[in-house]
């Protein structure tokens, strides 16, 4: 793997990309029942249909939910096929009919469904597979708890074992996953409001299942699973593009095992690590040396067991092989974006080859963390090791060389009497070779010299002198010395070159990792911190990043943490900042400073100064790396600065927007009623005598109406001001919500026109403690909105009911509804929909009413939400839920 070689796309990735002719699968993924997956799927389907798509509903479970059912209207729904089972006819999805119909897009609800016995496939996801193979696009829904690999996790979280499961591969083959996400409390609210259908028998179990903690955990699983699929797709894209990993994405674990007793322990460690990382994907790799001796039968069996265990625990398995084992492991890790590597080390029967793997991984694993599991540890919590500085002290190699030669001399002494002295030279030659391989060039040269001396001293006649008796031995000695020297020189150089190559590779990996961290940082602080850490790691010394602040420099980050610099160093830093040149230790400017400061020169601006303490290792590669880091860091800081400026401008723009919305509103909404008042009044004054009494009365009425409208508007403006300024005065009292609703309905009665309000109150309703005036105003605003947006001769339904914790008020109209895009914004200030359906009401809304309702309701501890459409494609429902015991702390679920 030479760095110069251009990356070629991974063949597997290319293969996957050419899965042509297949239908596309989209999965609507949710954390639990009731989040609205089917609902969302149907809405999306309606949109697709409206755009002219050939959409057919294969099977959809509405669970009797009205909204969901109404969405089915107008869609092509396939009849189900009855399947006889134990005397009962189960209505199942008709796969053959769907294949025959062959729509562009088929909706198949509930991916995890188990088909009735006697169906073609036992599971619905298999039906889907057949549909996809037939080239039909399929949309389906899935709750995360049904994923096979999560069974155990879900069981641990919820105490409920899922029977209907889907293998993970069935989800990962999805081309698109849409996560339907609502918060657990929202879901519980929806359940409380009866929107989530449930059989009575299931209620007890459900209550246990739908605890907030459970939902939170499930939600996290769903989010992660969706994110992970995005990761997978990203990686797929990267592989196709031939970009080398690792790419910043979710955690991915690689466990390396071999044929030895540790294999199973390593697999379990991998699983635990995966659990700790919220079920991160993990792969167990059997690393095989092509030229290694075959493992014993027992070890081979252990390895097979370990791989089986890995599959059972939800890991993937792979066999890695190659002449250069380390290279294949590293290559696999990069290609698959591995962030965590688990490897074992055996203490006693120390397999030197395995230790080499660890060492090499430490050097080359790039951005991945290495977990070394030792055999002796009982239940080893995976121990996180950062890259250590395995830098050999220089004299250690020389000492080692002497040792090796001493060993060789002893061996030669032992066999001296059996072999000719010339042959003993070979033993010494071996020691030179070993020194070269193990310790490098100079120790090898040293070993050559030492060997020559020892050979002459101990084994050439006369022994124990440096003299050489036989003239022939002179030749032997000379040749020996020359060969030893050459061999030592060569092996040492080869070894050193290999070392430096691997160092370069690790430097490149480090630059990549640093770049990724820097470019992933979102703020100046974070970028500075990352830069300081990377610098410190690269140089093995302290590093500091300073940025401009209030006309001076301040410390933005330091590794290890540091809050001040001595004045001398600070002066050097300032000089560096002002002149843009390196200062301090080792430079021509203020060389007495303890640090070397260098400017961070970005694309357009100087973004700061970094300081590094003189480091023990000042190699050329290290220097290049530091330069690369500085460039990256400068750009990252500069970008962070631009982002801050942009964010400030955005905030200002939003304030401006609000202000101009307010001005527009005042300009239009005050002036229009005033025009009517003034115009009608002057008409009566100027022409009072020449117009009929009816016309005059009508004008007077219009004056009154418009004055009321003005009053409402001014009231709204005041309410908003009070909400904004915190001047809201809440006077709580025990209130019968029905009374408030009746009063609110009365207040808007004159503006109803040809619409009517249909009340639906229960005979009994618990009292709640709240401010009746605020509630009334909130309801009036919603009613006025409903009136403005619904046509004549329709009903506005005003209902109240209670559940365990809340009193719920529901206000429904039959207007044209709110587009989904606007649904989230209707409660925003000055948000107004394009055109009220009633001309008489046009312009009367100011876009304040609903925001005030929301403000009031929330100020009283309640919640407000809007849903639309509710009848087919029409109608809006606003729900207000008021806690029965306001101000009480949230009861533990």
């Amino acid at each position: 793997m030479t760095p110069e070689e251009p990356r070629r796309p991974d063949p597997d990735a290319l293969l996957a990309a050419t899965r042509a002719g297949q239908g596309r699968l989209k999965v609507f993924l949710g954390m639990s029942p009731g989040v609205g997956k089917t609902y969302e799927m149907l809405r999306a389907a309606r949109r697709r249909k409206a755009e002219g798509g050939d959409v057919v509903v294969g099977v959809v479970e509405t669970h009797g939910r009205k909204e969901t059912q109404s969405l089915l209207r107008g869609l092509d729904v396939m009849p189900r096929k009855p399947i006889e089972y134990r005397g009962r006819a189960l209505m199942e999805f008709d796969l053959d009919a769907a294949l025959a119909r062959k729509p562009e897009l088929l909706l198949v609800d509930e991916y995890a469904h188990s088909n009735a016995p006697g169906s073609r496939h036992p599971k619905r996801w298999q039906d889907v597979e057949e549909l996809l193979a037939a080239g039909i696009d399929v949309w389906t829904t899935l709750n995360v708890q049904h994923l096979e690999s999560l069974l155990e996790v879900v069981w641990k979280i919820t105490g409920v074992r899922q029977r209907e499961t889907v293998p993970d591969s069935a989800l990962s083959r999805a081309d698109e996953i849409e996560l339907i996400d609502i918060t657990p409390s929202e879901l519980r609210e929806r359940m409380a409001e009866g929107k989530v259908y449930m059989k009575d028998t299931a209620r007890v179990a459900a209550d246990r299942f739908f605890k907030v903690e459970n939902l939170t955990a499930l939600r996290e699983l769903a989010l992660r699973r969706a994110a992970q699929t995005v990761d997978d797709q990203l990686i797929g894209a990267m592989k196709r593009a031939g970009v080398e990993g690792p790419w910043a994405a979710g955690e991915r674990i690689l466990v390396l095992v071999g044929p030895d007793p540790m294999a199973s322990a390593l697999v379990r460690a991998g699983r635990r690590l995966s659990d700790m990382m919220m079920d991160a994907p993990w792969t167990v790799a059997n690393v095989e040396r092509p030229n290694a001796t075959a493992p014993s039968a027992g070890d081979a069996q252990r390895l097979r067991d370990a791989m089986k265990l890995a599959t059972q625990l939800g890991g993937q398995t792979v066999t890695l092989t190659g002449d250069d084992l380390v290279a294949s492991v590293i290559d696999f890790a990069r290609r698959n974006n591995v962030t965590q590597i688990v490897v074992g080390r055996r203490e006693r029967r120390g397999l030197r080859l395995r230790r080499d793997l660890i060492g090499a991984l430490l050097q080359e694993a790039g951005g991945a963390a290495l977990h070394v599991i030792t055999e002796s540890a009982e239940t080893p919590a995976p121990e996180l090791r950062t890259r250590p500085s395995l830098r050999d002290l220089p004299w250690r190699g020389h000492l080692g060389a002497f040792g090796t030669v001493a060993v060789a001399a002893s061996v030669a002494w032992l066999i001296d009497q059996y072999v000719e002295s010339a042959n003993l030279a070979m033993v010494f030659m071996l020691s030179v070779l070993v020194s070269g391989i193990a310790f490098g060039l100079w120790p090898a040269v040293l070993a050559a010299g030492a060997s020559a001396v020892a050979y002459n001293f101990f084994f050439l006649e006369p022994k124990l002198t440096m003299r050489i008796g036989h003239p022939a031995d002179v030749l032997t000695f000379a040749v020996f010395f020359a060969v030893a020297l050459t061999t030592g020189w060569l092996t040492g150089r080869v070894r050193d070159q290999a070392r430096s190559t691997s160092r370069r590779a690790s430097a490149i990996a480090a630059v990549l990792a640093a770049t990724r961290r820097l470019s992933g940082s979102t703020g100046a602080e974070e970028a500075a911190r990352a830069l300081a850490e990377q610098l410190a790691a690269a140089t093995g010394a302290r590093a500091i990043v300073l940025g401009p602040y209030d006309g001076d420099l301040k410390i933005m980050a330091a590794t290890p943490a540091l809050t001040t610099l001595p004045p001398g160093d600070m002066a050097a830093a300032r000089w560096c900042w002002e002149k843009g040149e390196a200062t301090g230790h080792g430079t021509g400017t203020m060389p007495m400073a303890a640090w070397t400061f260098r400017p961070l020169q970005g694309v357009k601006t100087r973004s700061g100064v970094v300081g590094v303490e003189p480091s023990a290792i000042a190699t050329e590669e290290g220097e290049r790396f530091v330069s690369a880091l500085l460039d990256q860091g400068a750009v990252a800081l500069e970008r962070a600065e631009f982002a801050t400026v942009a964010a400030g401008a955005e905030a200002l723009r939003r304030t401006d927007q609000l202000r101009s919305a307010l001005l527009n509103s005042v300009s239009h909404d005050l002036r229009t009623p005033l025009s009517t008042v003034l115009g009608a009044a002057t008409t009566v004054i100027d022409y009072g005598d020449s117009i009929s009494k009816e016309v005059r009365d009508d004008l007077m009425i219009s004056i009154r109406e418009e004055a009321e409208r003005l009053n409402r508007y001014v009231g709204n403006l005041l309410d908003v001001t009070r909400l904004e300024g915190g001047g809201l005065n809440i006077r709580n009292d025990w209130v019968d919500v029905r009374d408030v609703l009746v009063a609110a309905a009365e207040r808007v009665s004159r503006r109803l026109g040809k619409r009517h309000i249909q009340r639906d109150f229960p005979n009994e309703l618990a009292l709640v403690r709240l401010d009746p005036n605020l509630l009334e105003q909130a309801v009036v605003n919603i009613l006025e909105n409903a009136i403005a947006y619904s046509p004549d001769d329709t009903a506005i339904e005003l209902a109240a009911y209670e559940d365990r914790n809340n009193i719920v008020i529901s206000i429904e109209d039959e207007g044209k509804g709110i587009p989904t895009a606007e649904l989230a914004r209707v409660f925003e200030k000055f948000h107004r929909m394009q055109e009220p359906s009633d001309r008489n009401e046009r312009g009367k809304g100011v876009g304040l009413g609903l925001s005030i309702s929301k403000g009031f309701i929330e100020a009283m501890g309640g919640r407000i939400a809007a849903a639309s459409p509710i009848h087919g494609d029409r109608g809006t429902r606003v729900l207000i839920s008021l806690p029965k015991a306001p101000r009480a702390p949230e009861s533990p679920a």
């Binding site: 009608a680 117009i691 055109e835």
Partner: protein, 234 residues
Amino acid sequence: MSRYPKILVIDDEPQIHRFLRAALEAAGFEPLRAETGAEGLREIARAAPAAVVLDLGLPDMDGKSVLTRAREFYQDPIIILSARDRETEKIEALDLGANDYVEKPFGVGELLARLRAALRQRSHAAKPPPPIIRASGLVIDFPRRLVTRANQPVHLSPKEYDLLAKLAQNAGKVMQHRELLLSVWGPAHVEDTQYLRVFIGQLRQKIEPDPSQPRLIVTEPGVGYRFMADEAEP
């Protein structure tokens, strides 16, 4: 066909129609009603009203584009309803061919006066301008280039006279700064509104009964000036 002049009101506010209908009928017009720009253009083409009252804030299209399109086939007066704080909008509308504007909120009397002035102007346009204009005791005798107040001759410089003549010949109508500058000082000075301020001030000193409360030459802030002649003239 009714013998009353038809006035088309284009406004999306039903409340405005409500009182304008009453006022227009009482003032001897036949009111017509349109609530959108498209509807308004159709009505103009169909009913050929004597004048149009157009609100610039319409739901379906910009009032100014209604104006532009109406002017392609309709030459009778169009009076704009506009908000006070929209000077540029007013000027644009006048440039696009509106005859006059009324600021919201407005009194019915004001609107009807503008309407009558515009209609009168329309009928004058066909005939040569009247040789003599009277306004609150001021008499302008165009053939003799003679201006008298309370039967006393008023001495005006040539530029002052030109300015007064331009305003008086368009009595009742707002004259934009540019129009006045162009006609009196020529195209090189259309931006020099300070000339206008000075000369209008001098004119007022000479012709207004009370120069501190001008009634003959009324300032239309941000737009121009308007000469108020006696209305009684047939």
